[in-house]
């Protein structure tokens, strides 16, 4: 049961470094900058933070490193590491911890310098001896295998996948902070270099730097802060496998379970959602999540996307920041889905603002479609 009234956990601060290519800055620098921005955003101080939640690709003991650097002594901490979905797992834990009074101010934070440090996706060391002899590209080939199966079972086409990348780019062109803002066509996506069939370079997310942070507290404390509180209406998490060959069905992710839990907690369904953020590490993930989150029947997201439904002017605004495909992807992008949902619900998203928005859904993925986490956020009017 979720707390109500004064005890309800809400999001009060958000920080985004928007530094996607920043040589000379470490992952911890990116993280600290985002933390400072998030605290200044809401008017809380570092000394107020007593709950720390973080994950990094570059550190196996992130909460210790981050607490030391920030000079904080948290009385509650959670370094859950499930890849890019970690921060939405941590959101669920932060809400529970706040509402149980295990902490009063929760900080969820992340930083990465993977682009300037080498330009390759950084993954935690996690050897997979049953995959290694076959030399798959990690994680790309795992997503390619899911895409190939989806195409086989449902007739999804490469053109439909390309439409995902094009829609993301059209949103990115409305976002001054997005890294890629040049127009992109379906033909250009199809003609880009094939890497692991059926995925081309343009079906893959960017490799960027970046830092992100969110601050949560309870509704009573939120009243005196600078920003209107964002309601955490529902959360849900699920884990289904580690290696792609162990995924029960390559065309259906555990987002089915994570979203069912989030909808149940919120007392809402897909038709109540006005804005959607899904972790688009690859074009196929947007297709899979539109289906698994209940926005399309299974197998129909390709046609849905091809119709222009998720692009600016379509019926369902999806990945309005430009997503991992065109805005930024510092390795574990999950927290950025929440940042865009918060910005949209505050009504401060500028040219890309979704009108009359009350409920936004953010969904993150980790590993190779392995971990799934859904958050349903509400505007201040839903409190």
């Amino acid at each position: 049961m979720r707390a109500k009234g004064n005890d309800r956990a809400v999001i009060v601060g958000a920080g985004n470094t928007k530094r996607w290519d920043a040589p000379g800055r470490s992952a911890f620098d990116q993280l600290q900058e985002a933390v400072i921005l998030a605290l200044e955003d809401c008017g809380l101080q570092l000394r107020d933070v007593d709950g720390l939640f973080c994950a990094l690709s570059s550190s196996g003991l992130p909460t210790l490193n981050v607490a030391e650097r920030l000079g904080i002594r948290p009385r509650h901490a959670d370094g859950t590491m499930v890849g890019g979905a970690s921060f939405l797992f941590q959101l669920q834990s932060a809400v529970a911890a706040l509402e149980a009074h295990l902490c009063d101010v929760a900080l969820i934070c992340y930083g990465s310098n993977q682009r300037s440090a080498g330009g390759k996706l950084v993954s935690m060391p996690d050897p997979q001896p049953y995959e290694q002899p076959y030399r798959p590209l990690y994680p790309l080939s795992s997503y390619a295998l899911a895409a190939a199966r989806h195409m086989f079972e449902y007739g999804t086409t490469r053109e439909q996948l390309a439409h995902v990348a094009v829609a993301a780019r059209q949103w990115a062109m409305l976002n001054p902070a997005a890294m890629m803002r040049e127009p992109l066509t379906v033909e250009e996506v199809l003609a880009s270099r094939m890497i692991s069939d059926p995925l081309t370079k343009m079906d893959c997310c960017l490799v960027t730097d970046g830092g992100a942070a969110l601050v949560l507290t309870r509704a009573d404390r939120a009243r005196d802060l600078k920003q209107p509180p964002i309601n955490v209406l529902g959360t849900g998490v699920a884990i289904s496998h580690r290696q792609i060959a162990a995924m029960p069905d390559l065309t259906t992710t555990a987002a089915v379970q994570s979203s069912a839990a989030a909808y149940r907690m919120a007392g809402l369904g897909p038709k109540d959602i006005g804005h959607v953020m899904v972790y688009d590490a690859f074009t196929i993930t947007t297709i899979l999540f539109l289906e698994d989150l209940g926005f399309c029947p299974k197998g129909e997201a390709g046609a849905f996307v091809e119709s222009g439904a998720i692009a600016p002017g379509g019926s369902l605004p999806v990945n309005t920041n430009g997503g991992g495909l065109s805005c930024n992807h510092p390795g574990m992008y999950g927290l950025f889905t929440l940042l865009e949902s918060v910005e949209q619900l505050r009504g401060t998203a500028g040219e890309r603002q979704v009108k009359n928005l009350d409920v936004s859904l953010a969904h993150a993925n980790g590993g190779v479609l392995s971990s799934q986490a859904t958050a349903i956020l509400g505007s201040p009017s839903t409190l």
Binding site: P129, Y130, E131, Q132, P133, Y134, R135, P136, L137, S141, A144, L145, A146, A148, R149, F152, R193, M194, I195, S196, D197, P198, Q243, I244, A245, A246, L250
Partner: protein
């Protein structure tokens, strides 16, 4: 303190590797519920029973999904094979052009050992089942 004899001897990953070194591709079969599984583990992932035993795999399977990786040094195939017994595993289909590997293709296992694998240990690959095989 006495240890539980059900878990004596090498662990399941080691048993699998020893069998493979012996030229045998093995999977696990649960003595309690009959579930087949791969990769090996100390528990049956279907019923939770401890320490399922190993059996020789039939090696027969079909391609469940497939991708061709376009590396600078040439293209190679990575596929997920669904074994006749049920479990799936990542592998590669050889003896055919990588791009010709298609979902549903019937395949048979073979044990490979080559320099491309750093540990130089044996691993399972698959070959298309031909009419005469």
């Amino acid at each position: 303190m006495s240890t539980d004899p059900r878990f004596d001897g090498p662990g399941p990953d080691a048993v699998y590797a020893l069998n493979l070194a012996d030229g045998r591709f093995t999977i696990q079969r649960c003595g309690s519920c009959g579930h087949h599984q791969f990769p090996p583990a100390l528990v049956c992932r279907s019923c939770g029973n401890a320490s399922p035993g190993f059996i020789q795999a039939s090696g027969r399977g079909t391609v469940y999904s497939t991708t061709t990786i376009r590396a600078k040094e040439g293209a190679h195939n990575v596929s997920i094979i669904e074994l006749a017994e049920g479990p799936r595993l990542m592998s590669t289909v050889r003896g055919i052009d990588p791009e010709a590997v298609s979902i549903g293709l019937e395949v048979q296992s073979s044990i490979a050992e080559d320099e491309q694998v750093r540990e130089a240990r044996r691993y399972v690959v698959f070959l298309p089942v031909t009419g005469e095989a």
